[in-house]
């Protein structure tokens, strides 16, 4: 019969229409600004910089190695390296960025920067309501705007952040043990040098003095 297929299709739409009143699964629209769906943990949009502790500059993990600047596919990261050094989380003196800008109007949220960063210093944010009337300056984020605390990172990506924290803690323990061992070795050497007969005087002293700084 002509029209049978159409009637069958109409029955299908009628079923869906009626179903939308009784079944929650059929009601898929979310009225966005008023209603929001629960955030998905792995979601990503733009990068930010992590700092440990409370001071954004002192605790900044970034050491201005500029790997992310080089690897960024759309080249939206601009870094200026400092000339002086500050201690990082294990106490090793490192450079820091005097300028770290990300142009998020160019950024394509690919998270290559996160992957290539060897210092766990740059991570992806989930903040997506970033519209601004300032087209150029408003979307060029500088170092202070990009800095977020580690607590914030733990809040938005709990699983990933826990892994990162564990890895960093392990590294710190290792670094401390190494420093301690080096210090002990140096002390032992110094003691040995002190205990040794005073016939040998100047030569062995110099390498020992250099040890603790390394």
């Amino acid at each position: 019969m002509l029209g049978e297929g159409m009637l069958k299709g109409l029955a299908e739409t009628a079923e869906n229409f009626a179903g939308s009143f009784v079944s929650k699964e059929r009601m898929t629209t979310v009225q966005y600004p008023e209603e929001r769906i629960a955030p998905i943990e792995n979601t990503r949009d733009f990068p930010f910089l992590i700092f440990d502790g409370t001071d954004p500059l002192a605790g900044l993990r970034c050491v201005a190695c500029q790997i992310c600047e080089k690897e960024c596919p759309p080249k939206c990261i601009y870094i200026t390296k400092s000339t002086d050094k500050k201690p990082d989380f294990v106490g090793k003196p490192q450079n820091y960025p005097t300028r770290f800008d990300i142009d998020i109007s160019v950024c394509m949220s690919c998270q290559i920067c996160v992957e290539v960063c060897p210092f766990e210093a740059i991570k992806m944010d989930t903040q997506f309501e970033l519209s601004t009337t300032d087209r150029f300056g408003g979307l060029l984020l500088d170092r202070d705007q990009l800095s977020r605390s580690n607590e914030y990172y733990n809040e938005i990506h709990p699983t990933e952040a826990a892994e990162v924290d564990a890895r960093l803690a392990e590294e710190k323990v290792k670094a401390e043990a190494k420093a301690k061992a080096a210090a002990e070795a140096a002390a032992a050497k110094a003691a040995a040098a002190a205990a040794a007969p005073p016939a040998v005087t100047a030569p062995p002293k110099e390498p020992i003095a250099k040890e603790p700084g390394a």
Binding site: E4, T13, T43, P73, I112
Partner: protein, 385 residues
């Protein structure tokens, strides 16, 4: 196939019907809702009949290949998402496959399973929306498309949970996948997959027997198998003409030889066959997913040889190809041993499937051009690159 099939082909010339008739030349597009983006067809019409059709590409050219030759291998991965933005995961796979061939990486078992699962989900959502768009161009104002998008949304949610992004997934890496599956992800995939047969039945009840769809699509835009083979058409377009060619069956790339699935083939090569092939392929994809999800083994997801920074494959060349939802997607790479490819070439199924547009449209009504174009299932991001 006979030997004559491979002779050079020239489209038939249709003369105006009467002496003194003038042809009407119309530029369809580039800003026309039916062109799926920015694409122009210069059509010459004799009344309603199409006499000549010239596709004009390149409005969305973004220099993808040249950019890839100046960037590192890894940095091209997010750009492949943006070729066919409906199926970013299959694009990732094709590129990863080419680099893996180049560098000789072994993909762990678990990563292969994840790749199959994500690729088949991608295929389902691509075909569902392709059918939706096709019916919308026939005048079904939105209903089949909205049903398709409802299902697609569930799949995109799964992608977001796994990869962090809904469409620009950037998930696969050379020698594996980027991150481990989140907790409970497979169960949620299973739940979505269990709901898919119902959705496909619904689509079929809505469309397959519909008289309007049959009248508009049967016998319209016929593509002959010999022309399809000569022109290098691949994917559902080729299989709708009856040529049995599915790279999943031919290359057995990944672990496709472990799954039992059939390759649906058409008879007539018209629009209706292309629609039907897509429906049947969705069903086969569901079958593959049903086999892959319970089988997935534990283990690493990355080849230990693969590294993120300072990746330099040895000198050589490689071509990696997969059966993307739209056809054969290939990446051809030449390495000169440095950190960026010497040559990077994409074989886009959308562009090559579009090349026979004139042959399918000649002699048809101008209203059918929109339909024929829609049935090719293209994404302009991939056509123009």
């Amino acid at each position: 196939m006979s030997a004559t099939a491979f002779k050079s082909y020239r489209p038939p010339v249709i003369e105006p019907s009467e002496e003194g008739d003038e042809l009407l030349e119309v530029a369809m597009g580039p800003h026309h809702p039916s062109t799926h983006g920015v694409f122009r067809m210069d059509v010459a019409l004799d009344g309603e009949r199409v006499v000549r059709l010239k596709p004009v590409f390149g409005y969305l050219h973004r220099n993808h290949e040249k950019i890839a030759e100046t960037a590192s291998y890894l940095a091209s991965m997010p750009y492949t998402d943006r070729l066919d933005y409906f199926c970013s995961l299959t694009n990732n796979w094709a590129y990863a496959l080419a680099v893996e061939k180049l560098a000789g990486f072994q993909v762990p078992e678990r990563a292969e399973y994840i790749r199959v699962i994500t690729a088949e989900l991608t295929r389902i959502q691509n075909h569902a929306s392709a059918i939706g768009f096709l019916t919308q161009e026939m005048g079904a104002s939105g209903t089949p498309l909205m049903y398709a998008f409802r299902e697609r949304e569930k799949i995109l949610d799964l992608f977001e949970e796994l990869t962090g992004s809904r469409m620009m997934c950037n998930y696969m890496r050379f020698g594996g996948c980027r991150v481990e599956l989140p907790k409970g992800w497979l169960e949620r995939v299973q739940k979505v997959v269990d709901g898919l047969p119902k959705f496909i039945d619904e689509t079929e009840a809505l469309l397959t027997g519909n008289e309007i769809l049959m009248a508009r699509s049967q016998g319209v835009g016929i593509l002959k198998p010999d022309l399809a083979v000569n022109a290098g058409i691949t994917g559902p377009m080729l299989r709708a003409t009856g040529v049995n060619y599915d790279i999943r069956k031919i290359d057995h790339y990944g672990i496709y030889d472990r799954f039992k699935f059939r390759v649906p083939l058409g008879d007539h090569g018209d629009i209706y066959d292309r629609y039907m092939i897509r429906v049947l392929e969705m069903r086969e994809s569901v079958e593959i997913l049903k086999q892959a999800i319970p089988d997935i083994p534990a283990g690493p997801i990355m080849d230990p040889k693969s590294k993120i920074r300072g990746f330099r494959p040895k000198v050589g060349e490689a071509y990696g190809r997969i059966e993307a939802p739209k056809g054969e997607l290939g990446f051809y790479l030449i390495s000169d041993g440095t950190g960026n490819p010497y040559r990077y070439r994409v074989r886009p199924p959308s562009l090559i499937n579009l090349t026979v547009l004139e042959d399918m449209c000649l002699g048809q009504n101008v209203a059918d051009v929109v339909l024929i174009f829609g049935s090719v299932d293209i994404v302009l991001g991939e056509v123009d690159r």
